[in-house]
Structure formats: structure tokens, C-alpha cells
């Protein structure tokens, strides 16, 4: 008795989704602020970048914790995708944390590493959200 429809094979909790989605504009904002500092030397941009990174790490850190718990709760068919999501988000958080330390260097001492790391983190977070939100799939309800 197969029925066409949307099935939920590991849908992330709405609050988990909020945390994961929330870190994206923060990481992106840090990247744009770094770019602005590197092209204008206006110091306030790098202050913004430092704080945006802290915010992003809080959101991403909580999402990461949630992803870890979900990893153990996911059914077998979905575990691979959950694992990729978790690992990519973990990588994003670790690189993001290193980036925060780099941002603590005074003035131009953080450049160009800060900008490069912000780009890497933005890409990692894009991939993590891709896997995190690709739970909804059209399929067959058993």
C-alpha cells in the first residue's frame, strides 16, 4: 500500500533549524566585514567581524550539539547523511574558532588570514546547511 507524499526521514527540529540558519548570516556578515576592512582599512569593520564571529560560533555551537544528539537518534538509512552534516558543521566551527583567534590579532596583523578563513568558513557552513536541511525528500510512505 504505497502512497505518494512527503516523508520525514530525519527532519531537524525547528529550534535546531533556527540555530543552524541563524549562524549563516552571522558568518556571512563576518566575511563581508572582513572584506570591507581589507579594502578600506576602516577599523570598525574588523570589530564588527570579531563580534559577528562570536555570535556565529554560539549559534553554530548549539546547532552542532544538537546535530551530535541527532546523530545517535537517526535511523540507519539516514545516518550517513547525518554524519556528513555533523562533520561539516564541526569543521566549520573549528575553523571559525581559529578564525576568532586570528581576529584577536591587532589591526592588520590578522590579514589576509582572517579574510581567507572567513571565506573557508562561509563555504563550510553553506555545505553544512545544505546537508542539514536536505532532510525533506519526496518519497514513498511505507
Amino acid at each position: 500500500m504505497a502512497e505518494r507524499g512527503l516523508i520525514d526521514r530525519g527532519r531537524i527540529h525547528p529550534l535546531h533549524a533556527f540555530l543552524l540558519a541563524g549562524c549563516v548570516p552571522l558568518f556571512l556578515g563576518a566575511l563581508l566585514s572582513d572584506w570591507a576592512y581589507s579594502s578600506t582599512y576602516e577599523i570598525q569593520w574588523t570589530n564588527f567581524a570579531s563580534w559577528l564571529l562570536v555570535g556565529a560560533l554560539v549559534f553554530a555551537g548549539l546547532a552542532l550539539l544538537w546535530a551530535l544528539i541527532d546523530l545517535f537518534r537517526a535511523d540507519r538509512s539516514w545516518r550517513g547523511r547525518s554524519l556528513i552534516y555533523f562533520l561539516v558543521l564541526l569543521a566549520a566551527w573549528v575553523v571559525g574558532f581559529i578564525n576568532a583567534l586570528v581576529h584577536a590579532k591587532d589591526a592588520w596583523a590578522k590579514m589576509p588570514e582572517a579574510l581567507i578563513l572567513s571565506i573557508v568558513v562561509a563555504i563550510l557552513v553553506l555545505v553544512a546547511t545544505w546537508f542539514g536541511f536536505s532532510a525533506w525528500r519526496p518519497g514513498e510512505v511505507k
Binding site: 577599523i43 570589530n47 570579531s50 563580534w51 581576529h103 584577536a104 590579532k105 591587532d106 589591526a107 596583523a109
Partner: protein, 436 residues
């Protein structure tokens, strides 16, 4: 070939730091060894771990004694010996810049562990030894409700006090133990943010001018260039009118000023920049040339460009003066005083320098008072330890020297803002006939 030398230096410094023992290069004198700049993910940190003196004492050379002439002060910084032998002590804690970045929150928390928890007194305390026995039995509050007073100078019957935001003056008559009234403002001083808040002070020998040392508003422009207007320089202030001009610039944090006897030359100790390695950049002692530029922020020790500053300024770098005498990196020189014959033959020609001690270095440096010998009016040899054991062999820090002042009768006065003590170092009189 051009690459080989820097690579060799890097390799050597990596090897040296791997050894873990004291790898301090010689950074004293006119040609300090300067390694390449380096900083890991964390700056090197070793914050002082305070402890009480107990039965420990600062150590002084043989033939000298040290006594605490005042304790329980409220962060004493600089002192002034008045013509009648009374000692004025400036007590205060300034700064209080807003925290701008996540780093500011962490760093201020860590660094505060190495300082006294006592609130700054915002006052001047007067100490008097009426009978010359070395015991300062009278202690009065000369003036209060000041705003982080630091630099002190006397011209005739006028006492000048550099608060963190203004140069003030009091009328002073010899023997006075309390100011006769509130101070007058000679001139406001740059006080916005006040990252480096101390305002050092010295009076020209003819009494016409006051020199005010004003520190930078950042380590290395991380608060932007706009906030560095009128910072990292020495002002020359007209004592009568309060008008000022920039006397010398590019001095990152000129924490103490002194006029050299005979030559009447202005000298300064300057705290150099942090976070490019344990052996960069040496703090220094230098004569201050009128109109001179000493590098900050664009370069250090002459033409060594600091890559952390944007935009750069090659023209300013080219004009930067090399300081006279390196004191070692991160020692935090906060006091300077020219000696006098009464200090004894070994220490009669030169300057004493109070070193508050490092945070950005392992092993720590400073935490002592040194003597830099002079010959013919110029520094002429390696420094000699004069007061040590502020950081004990157990790694505990019991005191941190700030201002040093020479009493012409034969004593060095050292302000200690960790144990809130004024120390007095005197030569031991060899015969009773020598005592008055």
C-alpha cells in the same frame, strides 16, 4: 642569498624557543638584537601572580639598605621630592576605556589579575621625615578628588600635577602639608579613551615650560588612526599661558620624563609595542629631540616597519629616529630619574629606571629597578640591577615598581603600585661622621 639570512634567523629562533630556557637576546644599549616579528594564535602571556611581602624584602646592592617608608597607599605611581625633603606621592588608576572587541573582555580580565585590587586614591599624599632619621612619621593628604594624578613637577612656588585629563597647578609654600585650595587648570590634556592614561611630567630648568608625556590610544592602531590624534607624543606646555605644541612624536607610551642635569636635555623612558614576540620591541631610554619622530606606529627602533599598520607611511618611517638605549622587551619602564653624587660612587652618574614588569613574555622581564651608567652625558654600559626580588624565586610577585625619584640628600624613592608601598633605598653611611 637574500633569503638565507632571514631563514637562518627563523630557524635559530625556532630552535631557541624549542629549548625552552631563557633565550633572551641582548637587548640592552644602543644596538639591541631584534628578531623578526612573530605571533601565534595566542599572544605569549605570563601574568604576575601577586603575593604579600611577608618576611621577604626587595634586594639592593651591598652597601645599600631598603625600607618601606609608607604602606597601605592607594596605587602610588610617581613621587616628587620637595625642596624641604618632603615626598609627594601621586595615587590613582586611570583608563577605563570601553571594551570594543571580544578580545578586550578576555584580556582585561586576565591582566587585572597581576595588579592591586585597591581602588586608585585620586589624591596626593605627603610624607615627612622631620628629624632626618629615615622614618617618615608624618603623613597627610595634600590634595584629593583628583582624576588619576601621575606626573608631578615643581616650578618655584607652583606645584604642577598631571591628571589623566588635565594639567593642574597648586600654589605651594615650603612646609605646607595640605594644598591651600583647589587646583587651577593649566590646560586640558587628551583624555578620550585613554588606553595609555598616564600623563608624565617634567619641568624645564628655566621654569618656562612643562613637558607632558601622552601615550598612544592602542597597542598598534587597533582602535583606528582617528583616536591617535595628539597621542604618542610629548607636549611642550607654556607654564604661564597653558599653550602647547608637539615637542616630539612617535613615542608610543612615554611613561616618565626627566631633565638631565648640566645639559638640561629632556630624556624619556618609552614603552614599545606588544604582540609581535617575546623579544620585540625593546622599551627604551632616549634623549628626546625637539621635533623628532620616533616611529610609532609605522615603525620601531628606527626603520623596522610594523606591518600591522594600515595605511603605511614610508615617508614617516624614513624620518624615524633610532632611540638611544634599549632596556629589553616588555619590561614596562615606568619611572626614570637622574642620579646624584649622594647616591654613592658606583651609582652617581646615570639614571635609575623603574620596570613594572611584563605580561607579554615568558620568562617574565622587568619587575626591578635598574641603573644605567652614564659617561659624558651618554649611556655608557649595560644596566646594573639596583632593586630586585619584586618577583621572587618562587614566581610570586610581591611588588611592581613604577616611579623612581632621587632625593638629592642620597636616597632613591621607589613607588610600588602592587604592594601599595613607597620604598626608600639609601647608601649605608660608613662612619657616624657622615650622618647629619
Amino acid at each position: 642569498m637574500r633569503l638565507v639570512a632571514p631563514l637562518a634567523v627563523v630557524a635559530a629562533s625556532v630552535l631557541l624557543s624549542a629549548c625552552g630556557n631563557n633565550s633572551s637576546p641582548n637587548q640592552y644599549g644602543p644596538n639591541p638584537t631584534l628578531p623578526g616579528p612573530h605571533r601565534g594564535l595566542f599572544p605569549t602571556m605570563k601574568i604576575a601572580s601577586p603575593a604579600g611581602w611577608g618576611d621577604q624584602r626587595p634586594e639592593v646592592p651591598a652597601g645599600y639598605t631598603i625600607t618601606a617608608i609608607a604602606t597601605d597607599l592607594k596605587t602610588p605611581r610617581q613621587t616628587l621630592v620637595l625642596p624641604n625633603g618632603d615626598i609627594l606621592v601621586a595615587e590613582g588608576r586611570g583608563g577605563g576605556e570601553s571594551k570594543l572587541t571580544p578580545k578586550d573582555f578576555v584580556a582585561s580580565k586576565l591582566k587585572s589579575q597581576g595588579t592591586s585590587p585597591v581602588k586608585g586614591g585620586n589624591r596626593l599624599t605627603l610624607l615627612r621625615d622631620s628629624n632626618g632619621d629615615g622614618v617618615y612619621e608624618t603623613r597627610t593628604v595634600f590634595a584629593e578628588n583628583l582624576n588619576a594624578p601621575y606626573g608631578l613637577a615643581l616650578i618655584g612656588n607652583t606645584l604642577y600635577v598631571a591628571d589623566q585629563d588635565a594639567l593642574l597647578k597648586f600654589d605651594y609654600r615650603t612646609g605646607q602639608t595640605r594644598a591651600s585650595g583647589p587646583p587651577l587648570v593649566v590646560t586640558p590634556l587628551p583624555f578620550a579613551i585613554n588606553h595609555h592614561w598616564t600623563k608624565a611630567l617634567a619641568a624645564s630648568p628655566d621654569g618656562r615650560f612643562l613637558y607632558v608625556g601622552i601615550g598612544s590610544n592602542s597597542n598598534i592602531t587597533e582602535r583606528g588612526m582617528n583616536v591617535e590624534t595628539d597621542r604618542a607624543m610629548v607636549w611642550q606646555v607654556d607654564a604661564q599661558t597653558g599653550a602647547h605644541r608637539q615637542f616630539a612624536t612617535g613615542l608610543r607610551n612615554p611613561t616618565a620624563l626627566a631633565i638631565q642635569p648640566v645639559t638640561n636635555q629632556l630624556w624619556a623612558v618609552v614603552n614599545e609595542r606588544d604582540e609581535i614576540g617575546p623579544n620585540l620591541v625593546p622599551d627604551y631610554l632616549t634623549s628626546v629631540r625637539e621635533g623628532g619622530f620616533y616611529g610609532w606606529p609605522y615603525s620601531y627602533w628606527g626603520q623596522h616597519v610594523d606591518n600591522r599598520v594600515r595605511p603605511q607611511n614610508p615617508a614617516k618611517v624614513a624620518s624615524a629616529i633610532v632611540p638611544d638605549y634599549g632596556l629589553g622587551s616588555h619590561v614596562a619602564a615606568l619611572g626614570v630619574a637622574f642620579s646624584a653624587p649622594a647616591m654613592g660612587a658606583r651609582f652617581d652618574d646615570g639614571v635609575f629606571v623603574g620596570e613594572h614588569g611584563s605580561w607579554n613574555r615568558t620568562p617574565p622581564s622587568g619587575y626591578r629597578v635598574i641603573f644605567v651608567p652614564f659617561t659624558n652625558g651618554r649611556p655608557s654600559g649595560p644596566p646594573i640591577d639596583f632593586v630586585t626580588n619584586f618577583m621572587g624565586k618562587d614566581g610570586k610577585t610581591r611588588g611592581r615598581p613604577v616611579g623612581v625619584t632621587v632625593d638629592p640628600k642620597g636616597a632613591l624613592i621607589v613607588a610600588d603600585d602592587l604592594s601599595n608601598t613607597i620604598w626608600r633605598v639609601t647608601p649605608v653611611r660608613s662612619s657616624p661622621a657622615a650622618t647629619r
